[in-house]
Symmetry: C2
Subunit: 405 residues, 2 copies
């Protein structure tokens, strides 16, 4: 079955390697020489406004492909639009006008739902267009797959930056308690990566709090006090999504107002600030709040080569599957072995993945909810292996963008 | 004049390259084979408590020297102690016990004051001990010198990370206004580096606010509104130290309480959060506050090779000067040429430097206090040139520490 013209889009929050998946889709489709390679601008939202490009007009050679791998955020732009039944006809009309044979969507849970809906509708109306999902999310909360492209690089940023922050925090003879806030609304995968900082040259973070375990403020303060008296300076990693047993987010205790995004998710921030202020009062020592903020998902200069290569492979695999006639599928990773690290890709029914959330296994969270098991570190370690040197121009990493500046 | 045994200490806030200066002092003194190389732990504060090490017990070979260059924060620990006349006798007693011939202190303004006091007292009592200052500060606010080791790497981090944050912020079709807070209490040098993000592949930040120019909140909101209506998404860089014409810090408008460090400096934070919340109300769009926090001074993995080499040279030069009998001096940089970049080192009377502050030239701040001139970018560009690859072990940069973990 011919691939035909293809169109690819990116959706949801960006990652450091979402463009590696785009590179994988682009280059694999291009090499098949079966048709045009379109890119929708700002995902399905742009497509519905007839916004797309012929990707060969912007990615002209292998150097551009290499730059694409080294460019953070979504090259084609993104959206948070959830596709609705009333959009189906418009979308298929545009796809048919462009004579699209295969449609690729790189994104997280909500994007997989888009693939689910469009492939189901396509089947219903007898459309030959294949719909394939390429997973990405720094949150690593997609079901079924061993892990998700984007996670390894975010984990590497968190591990490396925490090592630097820990060194920085130990510099004075007087004690400083640092509270570092890490992304992750419901799943603690990113905060889990704080465990990577510990090693032969680094004492690691002292306490780690994931949202999978209810957060008890009194126990937290007591635990920090005890450690602070014993050890002095501390570095504590907390997920932005930690909440009490009755579901109250810690950040809400300080927030003056709640902001909600277009999916109805509460926009969180300020957990570290709240806890840091609380500890300053309770401990009477210098405390500071550090948020890794969007750098977690866009610090491409520190991306994991393993993650970059796997993101590329996921895009390539989706194209190959579509060329074989598969539709309504998403590319997943299966771990064959951890030592040595062997990972394979498969395609999987998108219905079994969309709208499912995977949390950190509770058995990986130890020490009464304040520590991470060695097994979790073993799971994580291969995901952050290797580096891809940025192309440095004028002292800074060079990126490639849809428009020249 | 023989160098004799030497002792070296680090003081003040750490930088990414303060250990390169330590490496320069250590290796240059070691190669002279004139005596022992001691390191004081936690600066003058530790010295007064007889806390020091024989550095050859920890830095054993050239690989260790390379790791030292790649380790952020102060290898020997730091302090914020200001030396006082009542400390003089104790300090000289300890130095004489160790048969110290030369004393090196790597630090900022307050550390140069320590060199000033100890060298003056040494002269007064006829001590043969030489006292040399090696400058470091990410703030770049030391007088006389063209720039200060530590600044180039912080500037490189700010430029590189802003490029990534700008890419991240442009991803959605709906507008986001990001306010990025950059360190710098009184001098805007670090925020000046936000201008580096602009280039062939990046539109740069839209507005830059330095503390050298009084900040007018109404004008700020009007300017952002105007740009937001024209352009949509914006990235704005602000110094933590921006303040109104009557001296009120913006961060104080939100702060619930003021924290003061041991030098009497007000501890600042929250400028970006305050402005971001203000803009959300005024513009009715999504806004976010990002603080580069301590990562600005400890992101050694992204250090500037120029900065690393210059920091090393400053340490080496101080040792050579002491061996020639100089005392009460500090190493400074003189720019011979910008294109091509040629920088020389000199020693300078510490009296003319200690306690002086250098601000960003007002003529470099353009567009009614919201932009940076091309001349400033020309000044900055060579300081961020080049990289020194971290030694990556298990996927993360390897550091060297005084104690094994």
């Amino acid at each position: 079955m011919a691939l035909g013209n293809i169109i690819v889009g990116q959706s949801g929050g960006p990652t450091s390697v979402i463009n590696s998946s785009l590179a994988g889709v682009f280059k694999t489709a291009l090499d098949m020489k079966e048709g045009k390679v379109y890119g929708m601008l700002n995902g399905i939202d742009g497509l519905l406004h007839h916004q797309y490009i012929d990707m060969t007009e912007r990615i002209k050679n292998d150097l551009d492909v290499e730059l694409l791998k080294r460019t953070p955020s979504s090259f084609l732009g993104s959206c948070r639009r959830k596709v609705k039944p009333e959009d189906y006809e418009d979308i298929f009309k545009i796809l048919n006008e462009l004579e699209i044979g295969s449609f690729f969507y790189i994104g997280g849970n909500d994007s997989m739902d888009t693939i689910k809906q469009l492939s189901e509708y396509g089947n219903k109306i007898g459309s030959p267009i294949r719909f394939m999902g390429v997973p990405k999310t720094i949150d690593n909360d997609l079901a079924v797959t061993d892990h998700t492209p984007g996670y390894g690089s975010a984990a590497k940023y968190i591990g490396a930056t925490l090592k630097e922050v820990i060194r920085d925090g130990l510099v004075y003879s007087h004690a400083t308690v640092s509270v570092v806030e890490i992304m992750g609304r419901d799943a603690g995968w990113l905060t889990l990566a704080a465990s990577l900082a510990k090693g032969e040259d680094c004492e690691g973070v002292d306490l780690i709090y994931l949202p999978e375990v209810p957060f008890d403020i009194d126990k937290f303060v007591a635990k920090v006090k005890e450690l602070h008296e014993k050890k002095g300076s501390l570095v504590i990693a907390v997920s932005e999504g930690i909440h009490t047993a009755d579901g109250k987010y810690i950040c809400e205790m300080a927030a003056s107002d709640r902001m909600v995004d277009s999916f109805g998710h509460v926009a969180l921030s300020g957990t570290a600030t709240y806890l840091s202020n609380l500890l300053a009062g309770e401990l009477g020592c210098k405390t500071r709040a550090i948020e890794f903020s969007t750098m977690q998902r866009c610090a491409n200069h520190l991306a994991s080569l393993t993650d970059i290569n796997e993101a590329y492979a996921a895009g390539a695999m989706a194209v190959e599957a579509a060329a074989k006639g598969e539709t309504g599928k998403v590319v997943i990773f299966k771990r064959v072995s951890t030592e040595p690290y062997i990972m394979t890709t498969e395609t999987y029914d998108v219905n079994a993945i969309a709208n499912e959330v995977k949390n950190v296994p509770l058995e990986w969270i130890i020490n009464d909810g304040t520590g991470i098991s060695d097994e979790a570190v073993k799971y994580l370690r291969p995901l952050i292996a290797g580096e891809l040197q940025p192309v440095m121009v004028n002292g800074l990493p060079r990126h490639i963008t849809v428009k020249d500046c």
